[in-house]
């Protein structure tokens, strides 16, 4: 997959109106910048490509936050008008039912929350990576430009980890907010109310998962290769983490049947890496469902619930994931089970929690009486 194609996909991070109007011009400008930079060497080309992609991602987050802010301001204006009308009519006993937000509004809010969470989490992970690597690289006399390059090349594999996390934080935060303002309670009393809230979010999670797959399958192996060269000084004799899916499958096929345990472990490692490239992006969908489930189960939760749940969920997911990877590479369990076990377990927990909260909601919610 070429940088131009990746850039075209990345443009979907921008609001649709901006993308439709200026997308071709942005692609053309990016191609020109890339061509000019590549003429100075592949490193310049790669740095330019990554900077261009980061520009799209950060601008996408900024645009959505800006528009969400304007939309919320308009919402607040309408809500203030609504409240004042209701107050004048004397119809505020028990509070008015909040109108169901439109699909576009739901996605806008989740998108802004996701962008903010993604940027924050990735920045935190990058800061941690820099804290560990910079002293060692500086001690080795690595030039500042190369150190900056290292941080840029680290971004994709960090993003592969933070994308599912950001999905969870965004969904949990928005559904907690919907719980606090009464929208969830109202939706439960309406036919298809919950479906209209949850389905768009899950569809968006599928989209994010697809984007995460592109990052994990195509971008991360290439940037890991560059990273390994800088960090470990070797001109990458390909390791499993620097290979694309097709390269891993080809490498696994070179090991003949009946090979010794070392070769079998190598095959398992390749298979684990292949499954990882599917399982990690799929976690976005599981995380979205889990966020909905937790918010439904604790409708009056606040920031404390968000932070506590995030720590527990991330901790559990990554412990399960890493344990599964370790067991699979040592041939204790199959690579399929090792890599998908965490997703499957959390999915089961999420579905169970949703089922339990849907049963609880049918056992006599207080009905808001409008006079």
């Amino acid at each position: 997959m070429s940088w131009a194609r990746v850039y075209r996909l990345a443009l979907y991070l921008l609001p649709a109106a901006l993308r439709r109007k200026h997308g071709p011009a942005m692609e053309s400008l990016f191609a020109r910048d890339l061509e000019q930079a590549s003429a100075r060497g592949w490193r310049h080309g790669a740095l330019t490509a990554q900077a261009g992609l980061w520009d799209v991602a950060s601008r996408g987050g900024y645009e959505r936050l800006r528009r969400a802010g304007a939309a919320l301001e308009r919402c607040g204006h309408h809500a203030r008008r609504y409240w004042s009308m209701e107050a004048r009519a004397g119809r505020h006993a028990g509070g008015p039912l909040m109108p169901q937000p439109a699909v576009r509004q739901i996605l806008l809010r989740h998108g802004s929350a996701f962008a903010f969470a993604f940027v924050t989490l990735t920045a935190a992970f990058l800061a941690n990576f820099a804290r560990r690597q910079i002293p060692e690289l500086t001690a080795r006399g690595v030039p500042a430009g190369t150190i900056a390059e290292t941080l840029l090349f680290a971004l994709p594999f960090l993003a592969a980890l933070t994308i599912p996390m950001a999905v969870f934080v965004a969904v949990l935060r928005e559904f907690i907010r919907l719980g606090l303002d009464g929208t969830l309670a109202g939706a439960r009393r309406q036919r298809d109310g919950m479906r209209r809230l949850v389905v768009p979010v899950l569809c968006a999670a599928v989209g994010v998962s697809a984007l995460a797959f592109v990052v994990t399958a195509e971008i991360v192996p290439r940037t890991n290769e560059r990273l390994a060269t800088v960090l470990y000084g070797r001109s990458a004799a390909a390791s499993a983490r620097t290979m694309t899916i097709s390269e891993l499958q080809d490498a696994a096929r070179t090991v003949r049947p009946g090979a010794d345990p070392v070769d079998l472990e190598r095959v398992a490692l390749y298979e684990v890496e292949v499954q990882k490239k599917f399982a990690l992006p799929s976690a976005c969908i599981v995380m979205a469902l889990l966020g909905v489930a937790i918010a439904l189960g604790v409708p009056k939760g606040g920031t404390g619930l968000m932070i506590g749940a995030s720590l527990v969920v991330f901790g559990a997911y990554y412990v399960l994931f890493i344990t599964g990877e370790s067991l699979a590479t040592r041939l204790v369990i199959s690579p399929l089970l090792g890599m998908w076990g965490a997703d499957a377990l959390l999915l089961a927990v999420a579905l169970l929690a949703v089922w339990m909260s849907s049963r609880a909601s049918s056992d006599g919610e207080p009905i808001i009486i409008r006079r």
């Binding site: 921008l14 942005m26 400008l29 799209v56 645009e63």
Partner: protein
């Protein structure tokens, strides 16, 4: 005013320009110090149009001999006033900085 807004307005104040030309002009104005990446550039152009400081030229007003796909932008009166105000602010800031540095060196 955001620095890249200032440079975009400065670039367009001389003559109506399209995106790529604005990027090249800004790089030249800033001696390579300011680089407008595509998403930032076009996002900022839209913001400046919303702000009323830039306007998009109609098809029949575009300069001749251009392919016709580019969108040309020109500065509005409000944009020119904002640019003048920002230039005056920067000039005043530069004056203060120079006098403080002169005092510190004395």
């Amino acid at each position: 005013m955001k620095p890249h807004w200032f440079f975009i307005l400065l670039s367009v104040s001389g003559a109506p320009r399209y995106g790529t030309a604005i990027q090249d002009d800004v790089r030249e104005l800033s001696d390579g110090g300011v680089r407008l990446w595509p998403a930032t550039l076009y996002g900022s152009l839209e913001e400046l149009v919303e702000q009323g400081w830039l306007e998009e030229m109609a098809d029949d007003e575009r300069p001749p001999a251009i392919s016709g796909r580019e969108r040309f932008y020109r500065i509005t009166r409000a944009g020119r006033a904002a640019l003048k105000g920002e230039a005056a602010r920067l000039e005043s800031l530069a004056r203060v900085a120079r006098s403080r540095l002169a005092l510190g060196g004395a």
